[in-house]
């Protein structure tokens, strides 16, 4: 791909290719995290469908992104006697009750291709361990302050709540309208690209290295330079 004429976007077929390459690379370098998986989706019957249409998205679910992971949980050693609100007599000594006061947020990340912007879009949501969803304010508090804030205030990123295209529920997403512009910039300044040209395989990783920061996901730079 000629970098000078490239507009920062990706075709839907390329997205599929990029996704496969991305999943491989991720497994090898980001071993602290579980692997991404590809979720196939049924084609929308009403869509402007061609046979090469993307039929799925990348998913990484149930991960802990915040600083919480490093904190010590103080609830471990406090088994409690339970009070019953059902009238049955319970055996008090028999049950170690872990009071589930620890509110550890989990994140689900989906990377979904946008046909109208021709770029990937990051969808995410957060919830506590009992399933209760986090609102955006709570997420903001939870994420590493420095990088997230800078990105949130920038003119390149904009977090909105919109309906997930496949799951029909509101998820948060990073609005894609600035993506192609900064992807182009990103590849312009990347030295290895100047050497090798823009490759599909690197697209998603590079993209995620930027947007991932909004959700506190750090991708080490050396991952991007590996062949």
């Amino acid at each position: 791909m000629d970098i000078l004429s490239w507009d920062g976007t990706l075709s839907s077929g390329d997205f599929r290719l990029a996704a496969c390459a991305f999943m491989q690379k991720w497994k090898s370098v980001m071993s602290a995290f579980p692997p991404w998986s590809w979720v196939p989706c049924p084609k929308q019957p009403w869509g402007a469908s061609a046979s090469h249409d993307v039929e799925g998205y990348l998913s990484l679910e149930n991960i802990i992104l915040s600083c919480y992971a490093q904190e010590e949980h103080d609830e471990i050693s406090c088994p409690q006697k339970e009070e019953t609100s059902c009238s049955e007599k319970e055996e008090l000594i028999d049950i170690a009750t872990l009071s589930n006061c620890s509110k550890v947020p989990y994140y689900d990340l989906h990377i979904i291709y946008s046909a109208s912007y021709r770029v990937p879009v990051l969808f995410f949501r957060a919830y506590y361990s009992d399933g209760e969803p986090l609102g955006f304010n709570a997420i903001e508090k939870d994420l590493p302050a420095h990088s997230a804030k800078a990105l949130l205030d920038s003119k390149w990123t904009f977090i909105t709540q919109e309906e997930h295209p496949y799951l029909n529920r509101p998820w948060f997403k990073l609005h894609p309208c600035g993506t192609s512009e900064w992807m182009k910039l990103l590849f312009h300044v990347d030295v290895s690209v100047a050497k090798n040209g823009v490759t599909i395989e690197l697209y998603l990783l590079s993209w995620l290295s930027v947007v991932g920061q909004v959700v506190g996901l750090r991708i080490p730079l050396e991952m991007l330079n590996q062949p």
Binding site: D94, S99, N100, S102, V104, S129
Partner: protein, 712 residues
Amino acid sequence: MAAHDSEGSILVFAQFQSKVDEGFWHRLSSLKLNKLGIDDSPIPITGFYAPWSHPQVPNNLTLLAQSLPTELSEQSSTAATSHGNRNRCPVQGTLYNMNTIESFHALDKKNLLKEEAKKIWDDMHTGKAVEDSALLSRFLLISFADLKNWTFHYWFAFPALVLDPPATLVDLRRASEYFSLEEAESVSAACNEWRNSSFTAEVPFFLVSIDPNSQATVKHLKDWETCQSDGHKLLFGFYDPCHLPNNPGWPLRNFLALICVRWSLKSVRFLCYRENRGFADLGLSLVGEALITVSQGWREHQCLPNAVGWEHNKGRQVSRCINLAKSMDPTRLAISAADLNLKLMRWRALPSLNLDALSSIKCLLLGAGTLGCQVARMLLAWGVRKITLLDNGRVAMSNPLRQSLYTLDDCLNGGEFKATAAVKSLTRIFPAVDAEGIVMAIPMPGHPVPNHEEDSVLEDCRRLHDLIDSHDAVFLLTDTRESRWLPTLLCANTNKITITAALGFDSFLVMRHGAGPFSSNHDFRAEAANALSAIGNVARIDSDGRQRLGCYFCNDVIAPIDSTANRTLDQQCTVTRPGLAPIASALAVELLVGILHHPQGIFADGEVANSSSNGSSEQPLGILPHQIRGSLSQFSQMMLVGHSSNSCTACSSTVVSEYQERGMEFIIQAINHPTYLEDLTGLTELMKSASSFNLDWDNETDLEEDDDCVQV
């Protein structure tokens, strides 16, 4: 509680914890609305869990959207077939979803738990639990879905049969400490194989048999007899969702009960199988030995042991509650989508857009006809939430075509009141709008009031006064000239943002009124200067030496009179080209937005296109005109500036101060005697003198360029 170095202490288990994915509630709501209705019979559901693999937090028993049967399936007797994978071992459960909060609280929890425990007990005795060991982890869920508030009350129970007396713990340590190196390696390999095979990955209870050569194999529970006769070292393994170093997880409870019932063992060596990143981790897994000392009688099938297992909520045995309005309530979703639209506009194109001002401004629309309907819609689009419409008419059959808030239904049975119908329509479009309808006529000069009606007219005047007082911006959208008089006066009195739109057959006028004569910006300097100018025919100047902009009546040389009498039918109906109203309404609202974003608000100068560039005209929204006059026949538009007239019958200081002094008495007088206003303002004199000599319009104050002269 159960330290590994103390002999014979009671074995204490870490309770299962639940996690309900939002999708489950969505699916349940939809099932309830579309299929179940008020049917509250038990529903078979599937939960999912897996061995612990997360740092520091336990693996929960999870319910997802697919935990519920799909709406299309007719079988409700069998639980959903496994949708699991190695990270989602399916477990059967029963859901009791109640119809009211009272019935939810009134459920006999003890009994329900007993019933569910009995199922497990029976499965143990019949051997079903050996065949399908996931049955040992059956669970129960009771719930109440409040679909008005999108709140879900729920409570899980993980029934565990209580050993009586309880099992004691002889030993508990890390598996890596228990096994020899060779054994550990072999056990890990065997477990990984078990976990990776699609036949066995979802089987959460198994046997680990280690031969004298330290080779381990993992087997199904039903192979126990064979293993027994082998004489090899045997451990009872299970997927342990718990993460604690000193406690095994909940599934072990029923596992021990099964072992006791089926195979009458007194001493059980168990393996709490836990993983790290998808692979067996014997450093995290635990191996322990438990002693079971129950009596023979306890094991009898017909004697159901006690069961425990209602989930604790923050240490207490109470139900949980979750509110999902933000993601399920359509009104909330509509609000956030509307906000999103405006925020996008601000982000991409107009960073100085003041969304707070727009969402908090209160707009009063006088007239809910062709103009009123369009203005209301445009305001909604700009994020205005508080809209009051005033109109005393009813929706007529011809209205829906041009008045965009009405449909045929509003015309039936004599027609709904426009103000009411408009509010209903706005609320249907955007439920979060705060819309109010006032059915009232505006008192007008030239339409004298009979004595017996005077009180009600006075009442209307006062009401109008209060309405204007309690809003921030007023749109004059009525269909006669005289109906605009009183509102103009009242707005000038209180310096409200006032915008007029008026239609001719193929032309329109949209303008913003200037500030009133006694705006708070003035100081006593202006008062003095104005006192001087009262002598001449000079327009009021404000403290900055500028003239204030005029109102709708400032150009008039006659007072508002009854314009409706003696007109032909089509004139009375104000027939206009249909395209005019939408254009004029749109401009009126854009003008309002411009005023809100201008640092001087209603005191802003009127600008025209091509005005010389000075700092003040560089507003992000563009210029802020005073008057826009458009012509459809020319497809053209021009901007004008007119300054206030000292003889204005609506906004001049004479009139406003008269109103301030005499209030309603003055209003009634003006209504009943239209020439009164002309006399008061000196228009009568003016007209007389105009016919006697030429009036020199040049005067001492600095007028703007010729372009800005008042045009009629």
